[in-house]
Symmetry: C2
Subunit: 347 residues, 2 copies
DNA sequence: TTGAAAGCGCTAACAT
DNA sequence: ATGTTAGCGCTTTCAA
């Protein structure tokens, strides 16, 4: 039953008070130009004095549109997604759309359940980042019911997306590292199964290393995309062939890596260079600022939203790769002059 | 008109296929225990083969509940709010609620418009942080329509909230600074009109300075809560009576302040101590880690959600102040010895 | 320019 | 244990 005994007044109530039909009140909100100015003014007055607002649930049911979009991201604790959210949400709000939001923690089962909940709520469209677009349950559901959607950060041949060229960007960063003299680089990521971005970035790094004749690119897998493990770093850095630069697959992981390295006695970038990927505001606030691949996250969110709304108005979506650039920062330098001789580090 | 020619099947369609009435199908979803096992199984089979899911908009309209809550926060780019979001959203999702999200950028007009949009969508309840709870338009609207809501971070006498004791926490931090020998401390905030938290923290700092006989606490106002201004810092740090410690009203502002200070040639904490407020994960990733007042943001969000859901089930809400603690970090140290005032070491 | 009427998909009395 | 019926609040033909 309704919330209160004194239920919120409906359009019928307003119509009665204004001495018009419900249809006319509806028109006052949706097609005011159809009404005689006097009628419109009168209805508006009643509406204002009542503080009446049309119930969007009734409207949604009847009109078949909720004017709500879904936003599904791995976690807002990674600032890259928080920035994307802001870009998308602002755009949506300014277009009169509301946003339902859920985070997945990079877990495919949660992705699928959240998408199901969104569909049940009859959202008009969805912006999302999934772990891996290929054979993804959530994306399959969206396609099955023909729900308009845009991927962000993911790249896909079957679903429209907004991202950067992850592989190309990783190549660029490797190029920059090589130009400084690094020949042994390790790529640090979370579980690859959870992130096609990480996979593409690793692939790009390896591709470029091969092209430039660098040493083989090691790949260190951390238990999460959001934090490095000190033990793994410590173990992997042992030995004479330790890398001189660590290329982390995102800024948060890079920040965490640097924190551990410093605690282990390394000086970054003197002893070891570290760079990230994302170019988040957080990275620029680090001391020294994080060297990273900048992607325009806020714009990625806004563009995805713009594409989605175009589609909702009957247009077509297309995939977009926005430009990236290397953010110099201060956590990458030339490798130590003699990597074999004793470094002045105090572990 | 509806989205597609082949509109998604409704409960009536399922009923027809299963040879039962719509009410029975509805019961299969909502009160399965009322049905004969055989009937239930049969309906379930039809539902599965059809891939049918009940339309929540229809349900919402009829039942007078959307099982959706709103979440309204200043910005997710401040990690303290992102952490809060995750705590609240996870709790809501696990209770079967969906979340509508909006950010306000600390702008009261946006607060009011977003709340209005939420109300129009018939959310069941709302968790929010406002600039200032007193004479706040958004809160007034919520009260006027008796919409269940919980403030987070704000403290209020008229609205239920979940927060920490902001004033007490600021006192504790001042105490810690004083114990290290600091006698001249400046508090760094964004515009006070936008944040009662900043006001309370400033008040607590001044209260404690007075109690301990420290020098007057300067107050530096930055143009935003999310970034410090280098010019203001530079100007304020001139002169012989410059503070030896900066107490920033949040972690993001502290990070930004430190970045500027380092660029200006200061060494933190050797030349100048800096601390923040929030105890975000971001702060622990800084080098050195940020000294801060830790508040349990994720738990604040989860607690607010729990309280709200209790209220929605007919219970009562109550305001909660969760415990804070000083997070030592590495950005605060004794003041430089060369300071005019003799250092007063505390045993 | 406005009104009457039907119905979006669902649930909950009430009836059987 | 299940069916019948009446709407929740709104929009939208169609008719006047």
């Amino acid at each position: 039953m309704p919330r209160k005994a004194a239920s919120r007044s409906s359009i019928v109530e307003v119509a009665r008070k204004a001495g018009v039909s419900p249809a006319t009140v509806s028109r006052a909100f949706n097609q005011p130009e159809l009404l005689k100015p006097a009628t419109l003014a009168h209805i508006k007055a009643v509406v204002r004095s009542d503080g009446f607002r049309p119930n969007r649930v009734g409207r949604s049911l009847r009109a078949g549109s909720t004017r709500t979009i879904g936003l599904l991201l791995p976690t807002l604790n990674n600032p890259v997604f928080a920035e994307c959210f802001e870009g998308a949400e602002r755009h949506a709000r300014q277009a009169g759309y509301s946003v339902m939001m859920a985070t997945t923690g990079y877990v495919p089962e949660v992705e699928a359940m959240a998408v199901q909940a969104f569909l049940d709520h009859q959202i008009d469209g969805l912006i999302l980042t999934v772990g891996t677009p290929v054979r993804n349950a959530a994306l399959a559901m969206l396609q099955a019911v023909d729900m308009p959607h845009m991927l962000v950060y993911n790249e896909s041949g079957k679903h429209p997306f907004v991202s950067v060229d992850n592989r190309g960007a990783a190549r660029d960063m490797m190029q920059a590292l090589a130009a400084l003299g690094h020949r042994r680089v390790a790529v640090v990521t979370g579980p690859l199964s959870e992130s096609d971005r990480a996979r593409r970035r690793l692939a790009g790094a390896r591709e470029q290393a091969l092209a430039l004749g660098l040493g083989e690119v090691a790949h260190w897998v951390m238990p999460a995309h959001t934090a490095a493990s000190r033990d793994i770093l410590q173990a992997a850095l042992r030995g004479p062939d330790a890398p001189t630069a660590l290329f982390c697959s995102n800024d948060l992981l890079a920040a965490s890596t640097i924190t551990h390295l410093v605690a282990m006695g390394y000086c970054v970038p003197r002893d070891l260079s570290v760079c990230g990927f994302d170019g988040t505001a957080m990275g620029t606030l680090m001391v020294p600022p994080l060297t990273s691949v900048e992607q325009p996250s806020s714009q990625i969110g806004a563009t995805a939203c713009a594409q989605l709304l175009t589609r909702l108005q009957g247009g077509q979506t297309r995939s977009v790769r926005l430009p990236h650039r290397i953010l110099p920062g201060g956590t990458v330098a030339e490798p130590p002059t003699s990597t074999r001789t004793a470094r002045s580090k105090t572990p």
